[in-house]
Symmetry: C2
Subunit: 181 residues, 2 copies
Amino acid sequence: MDKSRSSGFTCWLTGLPGAGKSTIAVELVKALDELLVPCELLDGDVVRTNLSKGLGFSREDRNLNVSRVGFVCQLLNKHGISAVVALIAPYQEAREQLRRTLPNLIEVYVDCPVEVCIERDPKGLYKKALTGEISQFTGISSPYEIPTQPDLRLKTHEEEIEDSVKKVLDYLDSNGFISRG
Amino acid sequence: MDKSRSSGFTCWLTGLPGAGKSTIAVELVKALDELLVPCELLDGDVVRTNLSKGLGFSREDRNLNVSRVGFVCQLLNKHGISAVVALIAPYQEAREQLRRTLPNLIEVYVDCPVEVCIERDPKGLYKKALTGEISQFTGISSPYEIPTQPDLRLKTHEEEIEDSVKKVLDYLDSNGFISRG
């Protein structure tokens, strides 16, 4: 069974800011490119600029952002283009909705304790959230609902990026989404 | 030269409500399907629901809607999937912006006098616009800037749908976007 032959998959990396979603996504897309899997990276920041300008960070707006990206994934997947998404998607209800609209969804929980994320703070946003300079920040002043049944869980504080990427590739391979020959 | 082999094209049908954009788009996509051209129909109503919920009908919001759809077209085209768009896109500035972001854009002006559109009124919206029941309606209470240099102009009040579709296919063929063999 090679699902990738007829339609693409969506590999959605969900998790706290700083958990490693974008980093893994970039490396994953590189690896998929090498395997000649047609795919597109949809990163939270790019999406906010191009699809969701004007949306805020309330529960409703975040869910709307998720469903919009899901719509784009649906279009891509339908035509055999896979999508790798790096987007917090903090609410369970929106992730469940994705599962209903995307037949080939792989929900990857990028699991990293908030303390580690605060330490990493790649964009300096936790600092601003902790001092109250920015509000509605996931993990600090806005909730992150832990996925109850992710297809995969990556503990980025315990493993290297290449290990995480390999786990995703192994999952995709053993579930017929890609073929490494 | 077969541009479709490497990347897709975007055929954007712009024009007044009731000019015939959606009707032509549906028939065009059917014809492209038969030619095995991978393509996707993006219709104004579907787009408003899935990408632009919350946007209104001001100049700014309409332009934002256009640029969002343009972003999706860009993603699809990049991966060899063509797009047929049926969306009013009333402002020249937004259409010019599309031209900058979509290398394979075909701007098709679906040209039909507003009097004819009012007569057709397929969704009963002109009636509501004329009585003031709905506001900011293109052609009545919101402007439509006529494309200055469309790639193609279809006069739907003077020709049959199949003629219009044939004109687009001829254009795509003679410009190397598709090959009818």
